[in-house]
Point group: C2
Chain length 427, copies 2
């Protein structure tokens, strides 16, 4: 496992005119990682000054300590040329490497020829790297389109596990928020930096890709490192307590990273992962009218500390056998924590990386709010589908949820020096 | 003018079970105000720990140093009862006072009766006050509906200036993003805190109001205090350089606060202001294909430092008479900075408080991105309409903009101790 430590401290602004940049002028913030803290100490270091290496054994943005903000985009490839697609991935690799260092793309927003469009759009000038990570994935439709056509000569490399997810009870998928040939997950501790990254990759892809759908997330709902505290979702509960974390190397190999022998057709995906993206609308107004006791029994944890209803604190394993007062277990059989728990699914775990979202209002006079669920798994067939099926059938919380978007992507390993993202797929 | 200094340091979590809260555990961040810095030093103090007093001569959230994140909502009043409306404003006042102190609403999310719905939704438990301000306004339709009906006995107190804005060239207004009987502007340095505020006010208004539209903004585009640096909009340019600032008491009285003699029908609005809200879609993909030279001539400033094209630095006043190389002024006559400059409009100024937004993608394969323009003025008829008219007719930048939402509100003065927001209107 390649752990990514902060490698840089400041965005090089590359401003014309020699202007000094306050953003690079040594402002340090301590403890912003505690932004959604419910427990645990704030970690030291300014997360906005952090910068994560783009290249490595695995792509950054998976085990990287979950940043606070997200901009996620799915793209349709609009060219038929394999060369154009490879060229796009090369341009994205170059730009991602620059932006994650805190630099503008290309020659920058103001340092080029005034008679040409700038190489960078400029809205992140003066901002630090802000812990930006850029993570790219390939959807099933990149390998074969809806008619089964081999678009780019990749069909024989389609991973067996990269198939459209089945329909689950409760799904109400909007095609305009689902699928995609490519995806880019941009996470950062400043939303303007995340938006800048997606926008510039879209700009660099003009003629090769167009944005199919795009989702902003304002608050992380997961912890991917033991250094982080547990945030809260829009039901007001701590979320992500039992996540696979960066420090669990063996669990990552078992549950997150694709192994060399997993799929003979997809050796190019070794060291990569699968990304499940689900836009989960939460009926928050209905939830808010449930009693505290009911909310806690739906979740299986207390709202205050996040402890399981069987007692202890947030980190205490739930005791699903502990009897309650009415011949039923104290953690109800239809509670969320029980239905999705690894104990119910042969021990499979996911690395979740979701974000809270609010996308304006809905037709009912409430907020269009929810959780943009992101999970990295070694095999969606074993690590996601059974869990989601159980949840949609048996989870008491599912009554307050509706899945309005869905996509699955194969996330290649990290780019080695001199290579572009996904190079092994095209080799 | 009542300047609002930070009055508190931490959110009181009110968690059951005696859990310690990392969010209140003394994590200090220095310099987050430099988040969008292009110049100027970072200010000291942790803005996420800041808390602004809710009560005062003016409502907070106008001259308060512009926080980084926004959640704005417009509401339809769905009750016919004046008493219910007054009761709503009392509940909003109480809740706003609690939340801006960093406390949950009512008894909190976990400290009430387990057999009742919680008084607070809980997603901000453990988060500091984060500089939250809540600012409430009244739309023209609160006084008279579309049929001219006096809904709540307020028609004789309708301010003369509170009339629907005229249609401007370039407006493409979506009724579902326009208007509203009431508005709430929630600004904070943590988006989860801003969202929590809007959501809980909507929840407390159940039966009296429903959300008409709602807008998140991820990055401030204005400075309302000389302590702040100038951020960038999604055209990549510094925005808000010449804004009216909190430190300019005389200018605030002249341009922002409604005077006691301004409107005989609306004495209740003395010390208040008018809020113009405009959702401005920016065609960023088209903009990005313009040359650097063209972009700068459209704006009238350099992209790097924000200096006017007539020279100097960002703060240097533009010299509109300086000749260029082609018998035209060096700052083009159709440049944005010139068209909207106070010198062209009898010296009128606005206090702008806008935010960058991205609301997913559009049908053209690009981002649904733009600027959510918010401006506080003493009189929209003199301080906004002429400037907007000039801009939509003569501004070269207008070709890259489309106004997709619009609303106008009268923002009452701050609530005095023991009073609710807008109490003078109902007296």
């Amino acid at each position: 496992m390649s752990r990514r430590a902060p490698v840089g401290l400041s965005r090089r602004g590359l401003l014309g005119g020699g202007a000094a940049l306050a953003g690079a002028a040594g402002a340090f913030a301590v403890g912003r990682e505690s932004s959604h803290a419910g427990s645990g100490p704030a970690s030291a270091g300014d997360v906005r000054q952090a910068s994560y290496a783009f290249r490595g054994e695995h792509q950054a943005g998976i085990t990287t300590p979950a940043q606070d903000r997200l901009h996620f985009a799915a793209f349709d490839v609009v060219t038929d040329s394999r060369d154009d697609l490879v060229d796009l991935l090369q341009r994205w690799t170059d730009a991602a490497e620059q932006m994650t260092r805190g630099e503008p793309t290309g020659a920058g927003a103001v340092d080029g020829d005034v008679n040409l469009p700038p190489d960078d759009t400029g809205e992140a000038l003066g901002l630090p790297a802000s812990g930006l990570t850029i993570t790219v994935g390939f959807g099933p439709s990149l390998f074969r389109d809806a008619d089964g056509r081999d678009r780019f000569g990749l069909a024989d490399r389609l991973p067996a596990a990269l198939r459209e997810l089945p329909h689950f009870p409760g799904d109400a998928l909007d095609p305009a928020r689902s699928g995609g040939d490519l995806c880019v997950q941009a996470c950062a501790d400043d939303p303007q930096v995340a938006v800048h990254a997606i926008r510039n990759l879209a700009r660099l892809g003009f003629g090769a890709v167009s944005v199919r759908w795009s989702q902003l997330g304002f608050g992380r709902t997961s912890t991917t490192s033991t250094s982080q505290s547990t945030p809260r979702n829009l039901f007001g509960f701590k979320d992500g307590t039992a996540n696979v974390k960066a420090e669990e190397a063996a669990a990552l190999d078992e549950h997150v990273w694709v192994g060399a022998d997993d799929d003979p057709a997809a050796g190019w995906l070794t060291g990569g992962s699968y990304l499940v993206a689900r836009r989960i609308t939460m009926h928050v107004e209905t939830w808010d009218r449930q009693t505290l006791g009911d909310q806690e029994s739906f979740v299986g944890r207390t709202k205050g500390t996040g402890a399981p209803l069987s007692g202890g604190d947030e980190q205490t394993p739930p005791d699903f056998d502990m009897p309650g007062s009415d011949d039923q277990p104290v953690i109800p059989v239809d509670s969320h924590v029980r239905v999705v728990h690894p104990d119910q699914h042969g021990g499979v775990r996911m690395l979740r990386r979701g974000y809270n979202f609010v996308d304006g209002s809905n037709a009912l006079g409430g907020l269009d709010a929810g959780l943009f669920f992101l999970a990295y798994v070694r095999d969606p067939g074993t690590h996601f589908v059974p869990v989601q099926l159980a949840m949609s059938k048996h989870d008491a919380m599912a009554e307050y949820l509706q899945v309005t978007g869905s996509a699955l992507f194969a996330v290649p390993p990290g780019a080695a020096p001199g290579e572009h993202l996904g190079q092994a797929l095209f080799a």
